[in-house]
């Protein structure tokens, strides 16, 4: 499950997930019919409009419920949260009990990346190498919807070369909140200001998290102010090895990434 944002805007998180899981010896399938879980519609109040998105998601990922695949993984706490905690609700509200039950079957085998690694696969040391000073922001939905707790931190602590620094007030929302960041842009910015203050206080060079959306928000603010701190998805750090640690792979400063390798193509 690449997620619509991962597909369109942050393919590096999707590539990192694929590379990491293959390195760990797993077969990865990318269902090409996938689009979007519908979270933006659900969380903006468009529950009726979300029904076809839920149905499409269930159609595409249902093979996991039939045992064709072992698990569905997404490099996102909030998309996983939407699948697990909202899809069946959306279907039931529309009176479609059959869809709700199918959605529950898919949701039962859908995992956020750190959950899949730690809970399902039982690994914390994924053999990664990332020689940078990093702070971790626990995204709200991974923390309070999925309860991933310290699983991402367990994974980061096992990364060779990585210096992990604790983020003060880590559990406070960064202010993203999906369409909240636009509908209540000023309040969102006020929340972001405090998050950035805490990130900068750690003197980390990288802020990581399990959601590209929250990183887009934090990185968008850090980049606007040219703070020199970049945002990198957890999957990219875990996918990183000695071989991949080239200057280009480390990304550009400020959370907004240039991709020279691709741009040259």
């Amino acid at each position: 499950m690449a997620t619509c944002l991962g597909d369109a805007m942050f393919p590096q998180a999707v590539k990192g997930t694929v590379k990491l899981l293959r390195r760990l010896g797993h077969e990865v399938v990318f269902p090409e019919g996938q689009t979007c879980c519908g979270q933006m519609h659900v969380n903006t109040g468009y529950l009726r409009e979300a029904v076809p998105l839920v149905r499409h998601h269930v159609d595409v990922f249902e093979p996991v419920a039939h045992g064709e695949w072992d698990a569905v993984v997404a490099p996102s706490g909030s998309c996983t949260g939407c699948v697990r905690h909202q899809h069946a609700m959306v279907a039931r509200r529309a009176g479609d009990e059959a869809l709700a039950e199918r959605a529950e079957a898919v949701a039962g085998r859908t995992y956020e990346l750190s959950e899949l690694l730690v809970d399902v696969l039982g690994v914390t040391d994924v053999g990664a190498y990332y020689p940078h000073r990093v702070t971790y922001h626990p995204t709200c939905h991974s923390l309070r919807m999925l309860r991933v707790a310290d699983k991402p931190l367990q994974l980061l602590r096992a990364v060779r070369g990585l210096e992990l620094v604790e983020l003060p007030d880590a559990e406070v929302c960064c202010g993203f909140g999906g369409t909240f960041a636009v509908k209540n842009g000023e309040t969102s910015t006020a929340m972001l200001a405090d998050k950035m203050r805490n990130v900068l206080g750690t003197r980390a060079e990288v802020c990581t998290a399990g959601d590209s959306s929250c990183l887009m928000h934090i990185g968008g603010g850090l980049g606007r102010l040219r703070t020199g701190v970049r945002t990198v998805h957890l999957a990219e750090i875990l996918a990183s090895t000695e071989a991949s640690q080239t200057p280009a792979a480390a990304g550009s400063a400020g959370g907004v990434r240039d991709e020279p390798a691709e741009a040259q193509r």
Partner: protein, 510 residues
Amino acid sequence: MSTTHLGMPAVRDDSHDTGLPTYSPAGQGNLRGATSFPKAAHEKLLDTQLRRNLGKATGIIRGKRAGVVAELDDWEELRLAGSAIKADVMARLPELLEQLEENVTARGGHVHWARDAAEANRIVADLVRATGADEVVKVKSMATQETGLNEALAEQGIAAWETDLAELIVQLGHDAPSHILVPAIHRNRSEIREIFLREMPNVDPALADDPRELAMAARAHLRRKFLTAKVAVSGANFAVADTGTLSVVESEGNGRMCLTLPDTLITLMGVEKLVPTWSDLEVFLQLLPRSSTGERMNPYTSTWTGVTPGDGPQEFHLVLLDNGRSAVLADEDGRAALHCIRCSACLNVCPVYERVGGHAYGSVYPGPIGAVLSPMLTGISGPDDPNASLPYASSLCGACFDACPVRIDIPNLLVQQRAASVESHPRPTAQDLALRAAAVAMSSPGRFAAAEKGLALGRLVAGRKGRISSLPWPLSHWTDSRDVPAPPAETARQWWARTGGNDDEQEGRA
């Protein structure tokens, strides 16, 4: 629509009873502000003193709450018990209310039923006038703030004196409460001193902003009122159905003065404040103080049952307020909003509340619970209704659910009220059209991939900088303060189609 969940079983006058649950009528009370949340928040975010005051105060309360909650190893069981008791109350509210009425009446009290804010205010004003009094002392009460009782009494020539210190600060400052528990949380002590010097009769002109001196000034002022007032008005934290007992919990003892000294006591209470039995208080008297003030036990817990000859008020009136609660009760999932015990824990942990304060919500119920309860009580009349914007006043971060002592799933209620907001639109708005178009594009991989071709435009806008710093409305609300990265040259699905997931870049480099 089913009408089996009506909360008010005993409305005797059914001349305008449509049989449908009714919302709190527009234009009454204080459940709806004048402007939308984003507009109000815009003003509040400019107030740097407010940000400072709120950040400091909510930080202190959050720390105290976390400390006393961590002391209990059965906190989660208490939350579950609180939730179960309230769910039971809502499931048989009509029956329990009649039981309460019967027991209050049997113990010498009088019970009145108020359909809405105006009716509640009229009942209270008539009761005060019948005593011949022209002033009342008040115990801190959200129900009377909800109905706008003080203003209604003033229109009848009756002065209402707030005796809770924070409510007194708000009243003297010609201000409105901004927090359920700490209504003057938006004020610091220097501002309080200035209000006292300006508004308090006989105040010492040398008053300092030391908390003790401020409290002593308020104490001297209030004592004069306690000793002269013949009538008190209170709210209630709990009403016990099987004994007819009312209860108020407080910190200062000023409530106790009001509840014991005057001849007549009038209590205005929302119908949802019931618990079935006396022993249920055991659960809530642990949950409430720890969640609200961060104390193991609040200093004053007053309980009274009807009238006791020769002791305390000799006349007791209980006014039971609906004001939209029946409408909330009729929504079987949404009715959990009525479980709220007004502790304010969700306000204190809310990152939105902490930055904008309570006034931005318009309603007397601010914060996460207010953002759902206010529109649920009033209904949402359309896209221009200020309460239509309240369910969006949240990033859905979920901190409110974790803090709620009765486990109200506020994030889910926010989503449900967003749906109610969207479904109130008589004609599609620009947002409706955009989201509908997005749903069509996103429910098919072909259409989604076609839409992704538009990302090339984003790359063009970003140009050589690799970032986008300015976008047209409404996305300007994002780029006002945040950049957007340039879209990638290749989407993940294009990469997969080209490489089958083989990491060609990395291999090429190695």
